[in-house]
Each structure stands twice: as structure tokens, then as C-alpha cells.
Symmetry: C2
Subunit: 403 residues, 2 copies
């Protein structure tokens, strides 16, 4: 008997009607003769409402108590979804994270799954129960409730699929697959029928907002077959697999990420170790730096530019100013009005000229590039925020339509 | 160091302001050098809201899933209350029912506590943490979440006090103690400074609405010192203790219970076993019968009257009609417009004439009595619903004011 793991996000179960809709989908899969384990997120705005309740009392509560509070959101979803399936008349049981065997480390609000004790899950499946599991949560070694952080429910689903060797892990969202670009920005965006883990990883971290990278990383590590589908229609979704056999398109997708801020340290002394000093300072604060650019030295001076998430801009600026005695920059510049536009595709590494083609598309559209970053399967450029949508369309036209 | 167990009901924590108020009370007790364990119910209307959510999806969900859903209410309360104490700056930790070691039987929605594994509670107390425990909940032997049914949080608090040998178990409600009658009905009602377990038991089951009897039964069994106090003021409450030493008043309280329906089987054959047949039928449906009255046989016929809770009236009537082939009643009468008025006092058993005095008070007030039931420490009468408040006042005047 096939084992299907399905994951439904918060918008898919936001009200009674959507819950019943999801229940019918689950029952359909079950009635086709599959064993079904379903991971579900908190309903619609539940998490935000709970955060609001907490803030009324304490603006900086401990992460442990916050996890205790937020984990109730999924517990509400699983019981309601189980009740909906009971109404249709199929055997069903809901399980919280700890009941489903999720054991995590103790990083409250951003915990990592250590192991899944699958005994209970297996028992329920053996009884032909549909199993509804609370995503996003587990317990640490002290039996304290933890949450997995952003995209946690995706990770929960992939972890179960990996632990039980599921035949497929279907991630249901409000889009029906992975597209070559955001369909809200590019009207000719095409849905990909399949994509490799590595390509999906780059797309996820570049702001495609479909799957969280932790879940894709885990899927890759344990070779879990993933499918991204819509909970609102029956369209074929996108399959995320070990390798991309059909290599028709060099470039698999164009993405845009507006959550970027650029910082430039101008006129820094051109001596070895200067860059190290700067980035050690920043990483000590647990802040991630993305694209880094260093100008070639001139008159013993150079410029160091890099990007961070917008929320990290203020703390990094403060940090740099506080430490400018050792950094000795002549000027510190920054901007939030920028966007990172990227192309992703596993074929790029063996195909020179892809980056050139991208730059050409931008040149023809009169869009200025301020920074460039490349990896084996992606090319990212920084452009002005106002040019971002145009840039995505120009690149998409160049690669997708002309190919 | 003294160990104080406190329990706060849903209205005491219904919003952020009340939660902060309760937090300050807890911290005060802690700062006086006590170890403090707090049991808390779901906030205000949370439970009703959750039931409403469930009903939108399934009007008759399984009790297991209902318990999964409802137990989130207390989990929200405990985390918010812990955050409030964190804000004041004291060490605190919240624990769900299962984390606090509550193991119950499997009677979902009305489970009984089997044991409390006190290891975690003891560890947290040893670290001088204030411990906030979710009332009303536990897990069964399969690790499924159960709830304890009505008044469950009181029972949780008493169970912890019993298991850890607490010095006192304080139950905070929106009244500041146990009164000789409901102050909303009898303006001269007096607060009792202390009361015995048995008296409290009779008062609780007679509708005094202060403590649930399961909690009082457990307090009696394990000799837990109980105190009933208000969470809104600092008045001395009422102590519920092993025995009532100061026996000033014969009658300790007058209560009224409107949730009563009377059923009469008229013209039943006066043969042995007839009553047994009737009550076996009813108890098989798990319905409790309260006062029973059987008329003396006349012409080989007799009447059997009894009372049930109003919600049980319809099912019992159906049951009786369905089985009237074997019962053979000439007529089945019933009424909801009645009330049970009772006096309670441990001194009554050795003081003849108490019941007479009660009847006299009602006679003087021109109130008709339809049924009478007596036990060692109480006398109950059924009166018309419209006369109930007057009856309580008349009896209260007779016993409390004239003594």
C-alpha cells in the first residue's frame, strides 16, 4: 500500500469551508487505497492573533513560553480537520507534534528536528487510520514544546516522509506549482513540471516563497519525492526530484527578492584581513550577509559592499559605526531601495554565456546593475527597486520565450 | 518552605488586565517566601469559542478530538500567565497537563485522574520556579489528551496539593467565599469563615456553584486544606477543613437549584420490583436520578415520582414511553417549573426539629412543598419555580437571622 504524506498550509484551512474542502481531498486520496498522513499548519491568522495576545501582556516574552502559546494554533487545526474527516465518515486520529514523535533540539522558536519516534505513526497507519499531525512543533529532551520556525510545517511533512519512506510528500499551497517567475509579476510565467532539489533550493532562498529551504534540504538529504500542488484546484503540480532529467531549459526560473539592503564601506584601507574584521563582527551577531563585493584597491584604499536583510540594516549600521575605530571607513553608505533579481538553473554551470545573456537583457531594458553574484546554478544581480519588476520580465522574456 | 497551590478560574484571567492582576497576586505569594504552583483555566469565553468552531464543521465530533481541541484553551492561559510573571521579573515555567504529570483514565471529556507523576513539578519547585499548570487536562495510557469535565481545574489543583502535600490549596473565583445563601438572592447572606468537607459537598452538589464536588471529595480523601477566595479583592475567604469545630450554627447554608425536572409515573401496579425496573432503565442510560418519592399503595396502584436534571427530561420521557409496555403506568406527568431548595449543616443529624423548622418557615410564607428528601446533613424540598427565591429567603431568615 502506498504511503502519501500531505501538507496543507494555514490559508488552506483558514475557515470551516476550507477545512471541509481539505478533508474531502484527504478522503479521496485515502479511498484510492493509500495510507495518508497529513501535516497541517495553524489556521489563517491564528498565529498572528496569538502573538497579538502575548504582546498585550509582555512585549518580550521568553521564546519557551511563546512556543507553548503558538503551538496551540496547530493543535486547533488538527482537531478541526479530524472532526471534518469524522463527519465524512473515515477513521481518523489527530496527533500533536510530541504525540507524533517529533524530538527537537532546544532552540525555542527555531528548533531543528533531531529524531522522529515513528512508533505511534506506524501503529495508526497499521490500523488504517488517516493521521493528522500538527506541523511546526516538537518537544526537546526536557519535554518542553518547541516550534520549528518559518516554514516549519513543510519541514515536519518532509521529515515524516523521510522517516517512514513515504512514496510521495505533497505540499499544498495557494499556488499550484513552481513557476519560471512569479505569475503576479510576469504574465507569461510557465509552471515547471519538475525541478531538481538544488534548483528548488536556490529558488526557495531567492524568494520564490513556495517551499522553505530547510524542507528542501531535508528532502534532498533523504531523497524524498516532493510535489507542490494547489489545495484549491486539481492541476498537476511541480515535482521536486533528485535530478532534472529533461534539460530543455537552461534557466529554470527568474526570481526577485525585495527584502534586501545594501551597505557600502567606502575608502577602507587596502590591507589583508580588513574584510575579515568586518564580517566577523557581523556574523558574531548572528546576522547573515548575502552578496559581497570588494572593489579593486586604488591608492591603498578600497570599497567593501554587501547586502543584508532589511531588518538587519539598522543593527549592522550601528555595529559598524561603533567599531569604525578599527574599520576606519571614510564613509558608510546604505540603501533599502534595491532588489535582488536572480536566474536559477542547473544547466548554467556547463553553459557559458548565460550570465552574459542576462546582462544583455538588462542592458537592452536600460536597467543598471549595481552588484553581481554568481554560483554554480544561479546568477544574482542587484538593481534599483523601481526597476525590479521590469528586470524580471526582461530576463524572463529573454530566456523563457526566446528559447 | 511552605507550598501554596492556587487555582484561578476563567473569569479571573479573561483579558490581559486580569492576567496581570493574577500575576501580581502570584508574585506576592512567592515573594513572601512560598513555593507556588498555580492551576489555571481557559480564558473567559475561549472554551465556548472553540466549541463554536467545532460545531461549524461537525455537530457531533468524537470526544477524543473535542478534548484535543478544548485543551488548547488552558495551554493559551498558562503561557500568557507565565509571560505576565516574566514581565514582573520572577522565574516561572508553564506546564501542560501531561508535562505536569497528569495521567487519567480514557473517559474523554470526563476523565478521572489516576496518578500524578510529580517529578517535573518537584524539579521546578526545587529550582524556585513559579509553576503554572494547565488545569482540566491530562493524558491517558496511550498518551491521548483527555479533559476532566466540569470543574476539572478545581480537581487538578486539589490533586496537585494532595500529591505534593501542599500546605494550602487556594481556589480563586469571582465570589470571595462560601455564603449561607446566594448573596444575589438573599441580601443578608453571611460569609462562612469555615466549613467542613461534608457540608461543602452537599452545598456544591446542591448548586452553590463555588467548588465542584469532585474537587471537594478529593480534598476530603487526602485531607487537603482548601480555601475559597476572590481574585478581585483581598477579603478573607472560606476555609474548607476536615471538621467543623465551631458549631455555632446548625444550618450552614441555604441553596437553590433550578436545574431540576420532576417526572411522575401515575397508577403503576404496586408489585415488588416495579421501582427497580424503572430506575434500572434510567441508570443504564447513565442518567442520574435525584429525589425519589413513592406513594403508599392504594387499590393495588401507586405513584412513583423522581427528579432529574432538565437536560435529561426529554431522553427519560422517551425512554419511559418506549418501555411503558413493561412499566404499565396509567399516566406519565412531568414539570420543569420547579426548584430544589435545601438546607445543609453537619449539626442537623443530632438536632431533631431542624426539618420541622424549615417546613414551618415555608408554611408561614405560604409556599407549597411537593417532594421532600433528607440525608444526614441536608434537607431538600421541591417547590414551584416561582416560589424558589422567596423560599430561600424565608428559610434563611428563620435559621440565620433568628439564631
Amino acid at each position: 500500500m502506498r504511503l502519501v504524506v500531505q501538507k496543507y498550509g494555514g490559508s488552506s484551512v483558514k475557515d470551516a469551508e476550507r477545512v471541509m474542502n481539505v478533508a474531502r481531498r484527504i478522503v479521496k486520496t485515502y479511498d484510492e487505497g493509500n495510507n495518508v498522513i497529513v501535516v497541517v499548519s495553524a489556521q489563517g491568522d491564528t498565529t498572528d492573533d496569538l502573538i497579538e495576545k502575548a504582546k498585550e501582556i509582555n512585549t518580550s516574552p521568553s521564546k519557551r513560553e511563546m512556543d507553548m502559546l503558538l503551538s496551540t494554533g496547530e493543535q486547533i487545526s488538527i482537531s478541526l480537520l479530524a472532526m471534518a474527516i469524522e463527519k465524512i465518515g473515515r477513521p481518523v486520529i489527530s496527533l500533536t507534534g510530541w504525540q507524533a514523535g517529533f524530538r527537537t533540539d532546544s532552540a525555542f522558536s527555531n528548533a531543528r528536528i533531531r529524531t522522529i519516534n515513528t512508533e505511534r505513526l506506524k501503529n495508526e497507519i497499521d490500523r488504517r487510520n488517516i493521521v493528522i499531525v500538527a506541523g511546526f512543533q516538537g518537544i526537546n529532551k526536557n519535554e518542553d514544546i518547541t516550534t520549528l520556525g518559518r516554514g516549519g510545517s513543510d519541514t515536519s511533512a518532509v521529515a515524516i516522509a523521510a522517516a517512514l519512506g513515504a512514496d510521495i510528500c505533497e505540499i499544498y499551497t495557494d499556488v499550484d506549482g513552481v513557476y519560471t517567475a512569479d505569475p503576479r509579476i510576469v504574465k507569461d510565467a510557465q509552471k515547471l513540471s519538475d525541478i531538481s532539489y538544488d534548483e528548488m533550493l536556490e529558488l526557495a532562498s531567492l524568494g520564490a516563497n513556495v517551499l522553505h529551504n530547510r524542507s528542501v534540504e531535508m528532502a534532498k538529504k533523504y531523497s524524498v519525492n516532493l510535489a507542490v500542488k494547489s489545495s484549491l484546484n486539481n492541476n498537476e503540480g511541480t515535482y521536486v526530484k533528485g535530478e532534472n532529467k529533461v534539460e530543455k531549459m537552461l534557466v529554470r526560473g527568474v526570481t526577485r527578492d525585495n527584502d534586501v539592503a545594501r551597505i557600502s564601506l567606502c575608502g577602507v584601507e587596502d590591507t589583508p584581513g580588513k574584510a575579515f574584521t568586518v564580517f566577523a563582527l557581523i556574523s558574531n551577531e548572528n546576522i547573515s550577509v548575502d552578496i559581497i563585493l570588494q572593489s579593486i584597491g586604488n591608492n591603498g584604499k578600497k570599497d567593501i559592499s554587501f547586502t543584508v536583510k532589511e531588518a538587519d540594516l539598522e543593527p549592522v549600521l550601528e555595529l559598524l559605526k561603533k567599531n569604525n575605530d578599527t574599520i576606519c571607513a571614510e564613509d558608510i553608505k546604505y540603501s533599502k531601495d534595491i532588489s535582488k533579481v536572480s536566474i536559477v538553473g542547473a544547466g548554467m554551470v556547463t553553459n557559458p554565456g548565460v550570465a552574459t545573456k542576462m546582462f544583455e537583457a538588462l542592458y537592452n531594458a536600460h536597467i543598471n546593475i549595481s552588484m553581481i553574484s554568481t554560483s554554480e546554478i544561479k546568477v544574482s544581480v542587484l538593481v534599483d527597486l523601481k526597476d525590479a519588476e521590469r528586470a524580471v520580465n526582461a530576463i524572463h522574456d529573454e530566456f523563457m520565450l526566446k528559447n
